[in-house]
Subunit: 252 residues, 2 copies
């Protein structure tokens, strides 16, 4: 049973933290994706192996719940495993622990395998041994939500540039999370903390595309986002914050 | 003599590479600054030690020459040492080697120490033991150039956001280099490689500042930049590229 779950350690490096010395949501997600990459590689169906066959993994949905984002130089451990596999997608879970071994967060994600040329989803059952890693083990957080269009106001607009583009020649996942995180002020991050984030990745953005970001400030510290490229929806996101602590309030 | 020079190894991680699988100039600079940080820490005058006294290091100028930017998963070794120290600034050099131990680049930098509140330069001779590390050992590249205003055309404009701001609550050095690197197309990076980069850091940019980037396409693959915030010069840069190789030309 245990061989289906693997743990990887990371030190939170200075270039991944925000002005509060805490890892950004984008960089935390990057560690989750790095963990997924390491584990898939070890299991025999990593990106390098898939690329040899002209295939790639594509992240469809992601949900993260975090108690407190870890600080610079902290060591965290991310445990990962595959929950389920069907022909069109697979779900991979994560458990994040601090350096005392206490659980500080969970994440859950859905992935498809696409053909690099046609960009269409391929049958996961054609992958040699992936079903041997199906654990049916869940995480105690809600599955990644299917998000609706938020009809929010346009809050940002720009063209994609060199630094947004990764080896797959499209906008890297981290950038979407960075763009969404950039819709808040420093004061917001001083008084509130991220509790849960949901992302739906719907279509890829290429170099030079015109991006607009739409934002809806909802009730109960819930914020919704929709990222468009050339008028088409690329990503939807929902972030739930909570007040940092009662003590912090008393200090105000 | 050798104790004045220290070497640090880094693996080029996937999140630091561009669409060509090569480390970006911004991330390479970040490794140089990380190296400087490790070495200053070991020598007893690192950022943490300075912060305890309400002081910080500030990068004034930087020059990098690189033969070829290393690829994802390559291991590189960065050697660093202090060349000289005077009351207002100190120069730190770097030698970059590939995993076969061959030199692939050099960098040289000037730093001042400032008071965190007044933001004014402090006398470096008040630092306990920094002069013991003065090696007078140079690197075989030109010192960082003092750059003039480029009077170029405005190529970008935006407000600084959450992801641009670091623990010092100003725009992080890496961002300037990213902004400058973003002025080129993917085709540019496919056909040309960076040979030398010079940066002058002149004033800090804060959250919400209006940034404009000015660009001058000069002769001989030389490009000049000036970054303004709220109308004031913050950074000047000069990048020199060269054609990738004669073979690549023949393929065109």
């Amino acid at each position: 049973m245990n061989s289906l779950r693997k743990k990887y350690k990371f030190e939170i490096s200075p270039q991944t933290v925000d002005f509060n010395y805490q890892i950004t949501l984008a960089s935390l997600t990057d560690l989750l994706l790095t963990t997924a990459g390491y584990n898939a590689e070890e299991n025999g169906f990593g990106m390098r192996k898939l690329n040899e066959k002209g295939l790639s993994w594509v992240l469809l949905r992601l949900a993260i719940e975090i108690e407190k984002r870890p600080f610079q130089y902290e060591t965290i451990e991310i445990e990962t495993w595959i929950e389920s596999v069907n022909r069109v997608s697979t779900s991979r879970n994560f458990c994040i622990r601090n350096n005392e071994g206490r659980v500080i967060g969970y994440a859950t994600s859905n992935w498809a395998m696409i053909d690099n040329v046609s960009r269409r989803a391929q049958d996961l059952f054609t992958l040699d041994n992936i079903r041997a890693f199906e654990s049916q083990q869940t995480v105690p957080i809600e599955k990644p939500k299917k998000l609706d269009s938020c009809n929010g106001e346009q809050i940002d607009q720009f063209k994609t540039k060199y630094s947004h583009i990764d080896i797959n020649r499209h906008v890297n996942t981290m950038r979407y999370i960075e763009w969404v995180s950039n819709c808040f002020s420093l004061e917001h991050y001083e008084t509130k903390k991220i509790k849960r984030a949901d992302f739906n990745f719907m279509s890829e953005i290429l170099f030079g595309d015109e991006v607009t970001i739409h934002f809806l400030n909802g009730v109960d510290n819930t914020y919704q986002f929709e990222i468009f490229h050339n008028g088409k929806t690329s990503c939807r996101a929902k972030l739930v914050f909570e007040e940092k602590s009662i003590n912090a309030h008393h200090l105000c």
